[in-house]
């Protein structure tokens, strides 16, 4: 067992060794280091072939046509391209977008940018279980609405949105739907043949590929309309210019292949460990699960703990690597916007742990983590003048 135990897989994942091996094949002189846009020699052809294979692997995983995949530097860029690209492309049709208060900063901050540039954004307040109220979504749609953006899986509380139902409403009104799937690619079956989704963002480092690679699925009919963010050598049909990073793309392709092969067994193993940890934590009073337990990815627990200070709890848990909310906001001591949106009071929001399991989490890790959590929470409560004081401190 390696301490601290890594339980922050929703923040990032380690690169799988098979993914690393693939990546190394495209870096050095001995490997296929060529520019995939070089059509005049074999170095370029090999690189192009690697890109094609990786694209096929991702396309197969999400049941989409390979021509719909655009490689980016990560989910943040994909989201920016989807939202700004559509907003700029369709500004004659309307200037209104809809998203949720619980979205990732990449969506929220892009929306804020669009607001400063003449667009109007409606932020849907989620229900207490963290999920969007479909009736509220229906009511928020206006004639000027051009796009709805929702996360497939919330990055803090792990709840799963019903994309099919949202897509149906959006489609009825002739609006575009963008789905942030950064957290769901390796956890949920995604079938873009049947899901009414127009754009979907993916991240490599959440699925055991390296940081700095991501993708955007763009439905074919949208591709000519979308306004690019990055202009240059017209790679990827001019939608996202820039020399393709063969090693990054090839590695994400292998990561996708591993997901296709192992998702079912892996998710079932992780669910067992997560459920065991949740059961253990429930032996304590004052533990509140944030978000729906049923509509939730199998690797996430997000719990607010009464009677402890969140920062003190994290410092006590030095043997565990976990976060108090979204790691993208961990430098920010303000309470999580997601927890506030689902109605948690500030004190509970401030004493929250996001525990996320992954491919390398073992039974021993969970046994150790469960006991440590119980011990440290009990210890901190014993020193709290607010929690029922026991004289045996």
């Amino acid at each position: 067992m390696r301490l601290p135990i890594y339980l922050d897989y929703m923040s990032t994942t380690p690169v799988d060794s098979a993914v690393r091996d693939e990546m190394l094949r495209y870096l050095t002189h001995e490997g296929h280091f060529g520019n995939p846009s070089s059509r005049t020699h074999i170095y370029g052809w090999y690189a192009e072939q690697a890109i094609k294979l990786a694209t096929q692997r991702l396309a197969k995983l999400i049941e989409a046509d390979e021509r719909t995949i655009i490689w980016t530097s990560g989910a943040t860029e994909s989201i920016n391209l989807a939202l700004k690209g559509c907003a700029w492309a369709y500004f004659r049709q309307g200037n209104h977008l809809i998203t949720a208060e619980t979205e990732h900063s990449a969506v929220l901050q892009t929306c804020r940018y669009l607001e400063r540039n003449g667009y109007e954004v409606t932020y849907l307040k989620p229900r207490l279980n963290g999920l969007i109220d479909l009736e509220q979504l229906r009511l928020a749609i206006k004639p000027e609405t051009i796009l709805v953006s929702v996360a497939h899986v919330n990055n803090e509380i792990g709840v799963i949105e019903d994309i099919a139902a949202i897509g149906q409403i959006v489609q009825q009104h002739g609006i575009l739907l963008h789905v942030d799937a950064a957290q769901s690619l390796d956890k949920l079956n995604i079938n873009l043949q049947t899901l009414p989704v127009d754009l979907m963002s993916f991240s490599g480092h959440k699925v055991y590929a390296p940081k700095g690679i991501g993708a955007l699925y763009i439905r074919t009919h949208l591709q000519s309309a979308l306004v690019p963010l990055i202009h240059g050598g017209k790679q990827q049909h001019g939608i996202r210019s820039g020399t393709l990073p063969t090693h990054q793309i090839a590695s994400m392709g292998v990561a996708c292949q591993l997901i296709s092969q192992n998702m079912k067994q892996e998710q079932s193993r992780i669910r067992q460990l997560r459920d065991q940890l949740w059961e253990q934590l429930q032996s304590l009073e004052g533990i509140h699960l944030n978000g729906s337990l049923t509509e939730r990815v199998v690797n996430n627990l997000n719990v607010s703990i009464s009677g402890v200070d969140g920062e003190s709890l994290l410092l006590s848990l030095k043997d565990l690597a976990l976060s108090s909310g979204s790691s993208c906001n961990s430098a920010n001591t303000a309470p999580s916007h997601v927890l506030r949106a689902i109605g948690r009071d500030i004190n509970l929001a401030n004493s929250t742990l996001r525990i996320s399991l992954g491919r390398l989490t073992t039974q021993k890790d969970i046994d150790y983590a469960g006991q440590l959590l119980i011990d440290k929470i009990t210890q901190l409560r014993k020193m709290s003048p607010l929690w029922s004081y026991t004289s045996d401190v």
Binding site: V308, D309, S312, L315, I346, N350, M383, V393
Partner: protein, 132 residues
Amino acid sequence: MLYNKYNHVQYYFEDTRHIGRLTEPSQTIYISRAGIPENGEVIEISLAVKDLSIINAKFLAQASPTVVASCAWLTNHLIGQNVDQLGQITVQQIIQALSLPDHQYHNACLAYQAVQRLILEIEKDGDKKCLA
């Protein structure tokens, strides 16, 4: 990470020697609280005093690591001192003891506030002057 090699917060945060509440009926005990329960941040310091000397000190805290560390340092520092030395405790002293950065000034204030309330309690009780 907020707690690093440049300050002593983690050291004192993990020092559990003085955690608790003094209750021995044979001793004169003074207790003070500071903080705002509604904000989830409260500390309590209790002192056992004999012949104007602080013979024991304990604390309870539901607060950030810096506040917990302030209480741990303070209780350790107070044991063996005379009550009239309580008035000499300053916020700056706590900040220096923990090597706190400027932006954590307010955290040291909470422990200081508890000391000021202890002084009032002691003065009220025995007409003793704690301010040096």
